[in-house]
């Protein structure tokens, strides 16, 4: 059972419900360099940042029809970083004019015994993958270009193979609920990346 739509939930104890606004697209391997080149030009001037992350998706099954999903992510190339636990709600059904996918999100930094703790809570790992790529920023927008790798043997991140011959491109913003103007800014930025990549609102449910 998912939490009720965020716009209906009261603000409790000073916590603000944060929403993730998301646009996604992809580029074939051979087009990667030109996309990175354009992003370097458009985005904030900073050191190019690459990442190598290992993500595990955990499910908690109850009597409800759909299980509760949590994502645990750790850095494989940067030592000393906390683990990242993420909850993503169902995409909000908004008006068709909203340009980005909007869903409730909760991001939590944790100590490195996260997976043991999730198992103790009753979660079980459903699947895992490795993500390798680049991060760019423009203001509050984050642009991530990465390749997903399948892990051949559970728990062994040394032996991996690419899932496809392309890179996934995501443009996202995490902002408090109700700031729909964010999706207009995202659409304007996405326009500047055409025709190298077409970023769109993709509802995961429609793919199944």
């Amino acid at each position: 059972m998912e939490a009720p739509p965020v716009t209906m939930m009261p603000v409790t104890g000073g916590t603000i419900n944060m929403m993730e606004y998301l646009l996604q697209g992809s580029v074939l391997d051979q087009s990667l360099e030109s996309l990175l080149h354009r992003l370097r030009g458009l985005c904030d001037n900073m050191e190019p940042e690459t990442f190598l992350d290992h993500e595990m998706v955990f499910l908690l099954k109850g009597q409800q029809a759909s299980p509760f999903v949590l994502r645990a992510r750790r850095s494989m190339d940067k030592s000393g970083m906390p683990w990242h636990l993420r909850y993503l709600g169902q995409p909000e059904i908004g008006d068709k004019n909203r340009h980005a996918l909007v869903r409730n999100c909760v991001d939590i930094a944790t100590s490195d015994n996260l997976t043991d703790f999730l198992v103790e809570m009753g979660f079980r790992m459903d699947h895992e993958f490795v993500a390798k790529g680049h991060v760019f920023r423009k203001g509050i927008m984050k642009i991530v270009v990465y390749k997903i790798f399948r892990i051949l043997m559970p728990g062994n991140t040394e032996s991996i193979e690419p899932l496809s011959l392309s890179y996934l491109v995501e443009l996202n913003v995490v902002a408090p609920a109700g700031q729909d103007i964010v999706s207009d800014d995202m659409r304007n930025f996405a326009e500047q990346l055409k025709p190298l990549v077409h970023l769109e609102k993709i509802d995961p449910k429609r793919l199944m």
Binding site: Q63, V106, I108, F117
Partner: protein, 228 residues
């Protein structure tokens, strides 16, 4: 003694004052006797030369798996979510005899999302609040433990700031505690025996508070006499 800012955590021992003895000896309204014992300990600390340095608070909420989770085979597990004013941006989540997760304050928001699976037993919320005292390299936190409106006991937390290896300074902590707690000074806590020579961490403090709170919860609540 100068306070070091951004200090790595020294070793802490959390002990329970014998509120049972104090309350049972004094047939007065419950709150007053706990307060008197706290004041007695405070005066002893000040006589030693300790300085007051603000206040502290540690709280503990209990979650249990909702009935919906029966099929998982995880029935009857209790999860504690704790906060410590010494670490205002953190949240500690633990299982008895299980792992202790250190997370940022958004963990509380996650527990709200999980309310279909984990129910907050609000009546079980327990906390300890009081004054911080500094004496040379020691930091002492003297707190009144309350559940709802009633005072249920006293907690004394003593930290020896320069040391991070638990086993290296246990004897020193014991000696210091005896100087103001007398015969009420506690024995070596269970977390120390598993630590061996590894560094102490804030999670170890929270485990001790959890054990203390559980002990106090089980103690018989003082009947309200209504006489001063």
């Amino acid at each position: 003694m100068q306070r070091r800012s951004g200090r790595s955590d020294g070793v802490r021992k959390v002990a329970s004052g014998h509120s049972g003895v104090g309350v049972s000896q004094v047939p007065v309204a419950e709150g007053k006797s706990v307060q008197q014992t706290v004041e007695l300990l405070a005066r002893r600390l000040e006589a030693l030369g300790a300085d007051k340095q603000g206040t502290f608070g540690v709280d503990c909420e209990t979650y249990h798996t909702a009935a919906a989770l029966g099929t998982q085979g995880q029935t009857g597990k209790l999860m504690y979510v704790m906060h410590n004013s010494e670490y205002p941006l953190s949240c500690f989540a633990l299982f008895e005899n299980g792992p202790c997760l250190v997370a940022d304050a958004n963990f509380d928001t996650l527990m709200v999302k999980l309310k279909g699976f984990f129910q907050n037993a609000k009546a079980n919320k327990i906390e300890s609040r009081g004054t911080r005292y500094q004496y040379c390299d020691f930091l002492v936190k003297l707190g009144t433990v309350t559940m709802g409106p009633s005072a249920r006991g006293i907690s004394v937390e003593v930290e020896y700031c320069p040391c991070v290896i638990a086993n290296d300074c246990w004897n020193l902590l014991m000696e210091f505690m005896q100087s103001f707690m007398g015969s009420h000074a506690p024995g070596i806590p269970s977390v120390f025996s598993t630590k061996h020579d590894s560094a102490y961490s804030p999670g170890d403090t929270m485990v001790q508070y959890m054990e203390l709170f559980n002990k106090i919860r089980k103690q018989q609540q003082v009947p309200v006499a209504g006489i001063r």
